[in-house]
Amino acid sequence: MTGALLEVTGLSKRFGGLQAVRDLSLRVAEREIVALIGPNGAGKTTAFALISGFLTADAGAIRFRGRSITGLAPHRVCALGMARTFQITRPFPRLSVLRNVMIGALGRHAEPREAEARARAVLDELGLAAKAERPAGGLTLAERKRLELAKALATEPVLLLLDEVMSGLNDAETERLVAEVRAINARGMAILLIEHVMRAVMSLASRIVVLNYGERIAEGRPEEVANDPRVIEAYLGDEPA
């Protein structure tokens, strides 16, 4: 089991009476794309928050690049090479699109001029260059999703955590973003993604982990998971309609 980039074991988190995540284990190998799916409220976003340091787990361990990152502050986790996006996009609305991406780039390029060059390169790649000088608050939803991705990419991570970057996009926009995520992965970046858009999941992920009520109920290749009766039950309920 060596060589795992991210290794999560026995992760649990309770909010009052709600067991949001229960004994979750998963791993992401280098250069791999893993999808985390499950019905609404299954604990996917909580799992992301735990892994990226925004929440502290009640139990369990998280190892990243061979070292424990359990309990580490989010900015430290990011500095180690893990970047996340937020399901509800969080742009810096009054800053320009370029500045938004520069905030990510400044971590590895303390000199603003270098960070700006880096940020412009990312904007070019994601087709946002024309909007660079605009305030981020004025972007469309599709653009905000790309900006969210651009900010994360600018931190130059080795593992990217994408929380529903496709949701709310139309078919053409989704296809374009899927192609871009694939291109990012082809450059050697591992990706862990939460996604409801199944077409995107099926075409991107090499492995899928299914959560329900905070627990892992299935794991495997996309076609295995899609035919797993427990997964179908979780999504559709056990009573035949």
Partner: protein, 315 residues
């Protein structure tokens, strides 16, 4: 824009030649409040952490330099840096308590006000610091004791303070530190996700801001020749400090300066005018009305509005 700034500085350098002594006094206050506003701007404007207790740093800076001068004979030219350092220490304590425990918005406001009030009450009750009566500095006119026969010297010192603080903030704006602060103001969680140590940068902003404000305290004390707990630590001074950058444009380089050039003469002249006509306190009403106007019509302050206006005429 650059030559316009240089021209303005030259004009301000030459100005005392044509001003009467009341005019010089008004400009001293304009520069001084612009300086304090600029110092506050670092943490309140750029980093968006609303401190309404900055008088605490004026008081600590002023009392430190005054005590060192009175008791130990240390020149305020050095004492001001000791005062600045102690103010920065207090700023670090307040900042750490507030930021470490995630106090935001109103709660941070209350924390800063509480600290300033604790300082005021403590100093009022410590006889060694003059108690409620305060401290008085004997006027000798000795420049080494930060005392000058000619009011115009204070003018140039205040101008220097304002320009120095503005220079520091201008430098900051172009560095990673300043860029991070503007993002922290917008969304701290998103900053953390991008690798920004928000606690560290907010703390640094607080320390720099309180250090500069502490230096201002020395100027204030040695300009007035007296220090009272109420004037040095009181809520009214804290409010005066934040009004100018807010009116001029918080988080902008020239906002505090513009705000001070608008508000300070207004405050002084209306105080004089209403005072002479026996309507004491009415200047505060005029002040209040202006503030309401700014909040309603220029919520981002006068400077961003002015800049759009200039950009509009050029286009």
């Amino acid at each position: 824009m650059k030559w316009l700034g240089a021209l303005a500085v030259l004009a301000l350098l030459a100005l005392p030649a044509v001003l009467n002594s009341y005019g010089v006094t008004i400009f001293i206050l304009i520069f001084f409040y612009a300086f304090l506003g600029q110092a506050w701007n670092v943490v309140g404007g750029y980093a968006g952490q609303l401190s309404v207790g900055h008088a605490a740093f004026v008081g600590v800076g002023g009392y430190t330099a005054a005590m060192l001068s009175i008791e130990k004979g240390l020149t305020p030219w050095l004492g001001m840096f000791v005062g600045g350092a102690l103010a920065a220490l207090l700023g670090a304590v307040i900042g750490y308590l507030g930021f470490r425990f995630g106090l935001r918005g109103f709660y941070f406001v209350l924390l800063t006000v509480a600290f300033a009030e604790i300082c005021r009450i403590a100093v009022s009750n410590i006889d060694a610091l003059g108690g409620a009566l305060g401290l008085y500095i004997t006027f000798t006119g000795d420049p080494r004791q930060f005392q000058f026969q000619d009011n115009r010297v204070y003018y140039y010192i205040a101008l220097g303070l304002m320009l120095a603080a503005t220079g520091i903030v201008a430098l900051l704006e172009r560095r990673r530190f300043g860029i991070y602060l503007t993002a922290i103001r917008e969304d701290e969680g998103a900053c953390e996700a991008l690798g920004v140590d928000t606690l560290k940068y907010k703390l640094l902003a607080m320390i720099l801001s309180s250090f500069l404000t502490g230096i201002g305290g020395t100027f204030y004390a040695f300009y007035l020749f007296s220090l009272q707990p109420g004037t040095m630590f009181g809520i009214p001074l804290s409010v005066e400090i934040i009004l100018r950058p807010i009116v001029g444009g918080a988080g902008t380089l020239l906002g505090p300066l513009l705000g001070s050039f608008i508000l300070t003469p207004l405050a002084e002249l209306s105080r004089l005018y209403f005072g002479q006509s026996g309507l004491h306190g009415l200047h505060l009403v005029a002040y209040g009305l202006l503030l309401i106007g700014v909040v309603l019509f220029l919520p981002q302050g006068a400077y961003p509005y002015l800049r759009r206006l200039i950009a509009g005429t050029r286009a």
